[in-house]
């Protein structure tokens, strides 16, 4: 798999992907794309195309996109390990924050539009309904991770503690999937597929498969260990580099 990727028809795809992902346009483009679901849903609601129950539909849509962005963010590292496209790592923070953003939209549409700020009723639901308890748990984790996502917070916490804290993103992902499974009627396919993807990503991090071994048995890719940029700046550890000269560490 890695071989044809690396040189299909004489073009080094890995280098091309890396160049695209590290160009100055990559981040603005991804940022804009990540806003499309929000703009699209608002547009459908505005034009009355969101169906008979626009309130529930927007609660549902924002929740789904929160889960999707979370899974995409979680998939970046496995994808980078599989393909050796180091530039993927630049988007973890942004996409993780988009997962938090859509989760916040999800929660506020539920609170404001569905329950109409009926706080006693909402509190009762959070405590009494396991699926809402689980969903709130996922949201609180994402809030903590979003709040500590800045370079300053990485520095303040120190690389080790920061990494340990941010492993909780998997708990949030599993809780999000569980929330989805629990809220639908019966055993529906879609929530189970999301859960399987999440478990797959988690399993990959535990037992990574690495493709693209050299004939001499050495990996094409340097052992991947991301370290928060701030920890590296303080000289705690050297920045890992891939053979192509790119680094998994965010450089911007």
């Amino acid at each position: 798999m890695a071989a044809p990727l690396a040189s299909a028809g004489g073009v080094d795809l890995r280098a091309a992907a890396n160049a695209a992902l590290t160009s100055r346009w990559a981040k603005p483009v991804v940022f804009t794309l990540a806003l499309v679901p929000l703009v699209w849903t608002v547009w459908l609601a505005y034009t009355g195309e969101l169906g008979a129950e626009p309130v529930l539909e927007s609660v549902k849509a924002s929740g789904l996109w929160a889960l999707r962005f979370l899974l995409i963010a979680l998939a970046l590292t496995p994808l980078r390990m599989l393909t050796g496209v180091a530039g993927l790592a630049r988007f973890r923070r942004m996409l993780g924050l988009f997962a938090f953003f859509y989760a916040a939209v999800h929660l506020s549409t539920y609170v404001g539009l569905d329950q109409f700020f009926d706080w006693p009723a909402i509190w009762k639901e959070i405590v009494k309904r396991p699926y809402i308890t689980v969903g709130m748990g996922a949201f609180l984790i994402l809030t903590a991770l979003a709040a500590t996502s800045t370079d300053g917070m990485v520095k303040r916490l120190g690389g080790k503690r920061w990494r340990a804290l941010h492993k909780a993103v998997f708990v949030a992902g599993l809780a999000g999937c569980l929330h989805f499974i629990m809220l639908v009627k019966g055993w529906q396919t879609a929530p189970l597929v999301y859960a399987l993807i999440c478990i797959g990503l988690l399993a990959f991090r535990r037992w990574p498969i690495r493709l693209g071994q050299r004939k001499d048995g050495r990996r094409k890719e340097a052992p991947v260990r991301t370290r928060p940029a701030a920890a590296l700046r303080s000289g705690e550890a050297p920045a890992p580099h891939f053979p192509d000269g790119s680094s998994p560490v965010r450089r911007s």
């Binding site: 008979a52 009723a121 019966g186």
Partner: protein
């Protein structure tokens, strides 16, 4: 062609739901679990020819074609519909009381319940390939509930032929129970001695009881049933016991514990 019009829903408090909403926001898992799936996928349902086989504890079992069912004297009735998921609509149905059909087959003294079954053809119903429910979809009523004058078989809505996604060509409407009791696209009716198994009850017995009368005081295990949102409205309404039909039907359950018999 509606001979009489019964309006148990007060138009002042219960304005009729726009037809577009009632025909595009549906639960009909035989065509997918999304709310817009039935409207998008139910085109494959063939409603002619169509027959209902009626048997069991009856004197005169029969198989009746849709042409003959359409000869029953039709009425238009505006009913509230409350979904177990917490939304509701107000729909003008066209149909006739189920009792009229049941009387023709002459239920015997052994008939205590009525079991219903939906068409089970995966060629026409793509949703049957998913294992969300134990197909075919089945539902049931106690005989007195089935014979109640409010219980009807609908063949139309909004003065038009029933759209496929709403359960064409013929469906049950039991306005004081959660919507899933009102089984769609019926092919079989059996009068039976014992309480029949029903699809949602088999799938999640703790959540969906046999009776499933609309009851704001008995929560669904996963959500409150105290309020509902009328489709098209912004704020929530208080849910009424028996969906507001208590005067007509509460006596059916005299002396019963409605929390235990949810």
């Amino acid at each position: 062609q509606a001979a009489t019009t019964i309006k148990p829903a007060d138009p002042k408090f219960d304005p009729t739901t726009p037809m577009k909403s009632a025909t595009t926001y549906n639960n009909f898992y035989e065509f997918g679990t999304g709310k817009s799936d039935p409207a998008e996928n139910a085109g494959t349902l063939k409603t002619r020819p169509w027959e209902i086989a009626i048997g069991g504890e009856v004197g005169k079992p029969m198989t009746i074609g849709i042409e003959d069912l359409l000869k029953f004297p039709m009425e238009e009735r505006v009913y509230r519909l409350r979904c177990v998921e917490g939304w509701s609509m107000v729909i003008p149905w066209v149909g006739f009381p189920l009792a009229e059909l049941l009387k023709r087959v002459e239920p015997t003294g052994n008939a205590k319940y009525v079991a219903f079954q939906t068409l089970n053809d995966s060629k026409q119903m793509p949703g049957l390939r998913s294992w969300v429910l134990d197909w075919p979809y089945t539902e049931g009523l106690r005989l007195d509930e089935a014979m109640h004058p409010l219980t009807m078989l609908a063949v139309g809505m909004y003065g038009e032929v029933l759209p496929n996604q709403n359960g064409a060509p013929i469906r049950l409407v039991v306005p004081w129970k959660y919507g899933f009791k009102s089984i769609k696209s019926i092919v079989k009716i059996s009068l039976v001695k014992d309480q029949p198994a029903t699809a949602w009850n088999k799938s999640q017995p703790r959540e969906y009881g046999f009776y499933s009368n609309v009851n704001p005081d008995v929560d669904h295990p996963r959500w409150s049933q105290a309020t509902e949102r009328r489709v098209g409205e912004f704020s929530r309404r208080k849910t009424l016991p028996f969906n507001g039909y208590g005067e007509e039907v509460a006596s059916l359950y005299a002396g019963m514990d409605l929390k235990a018999n949810y």
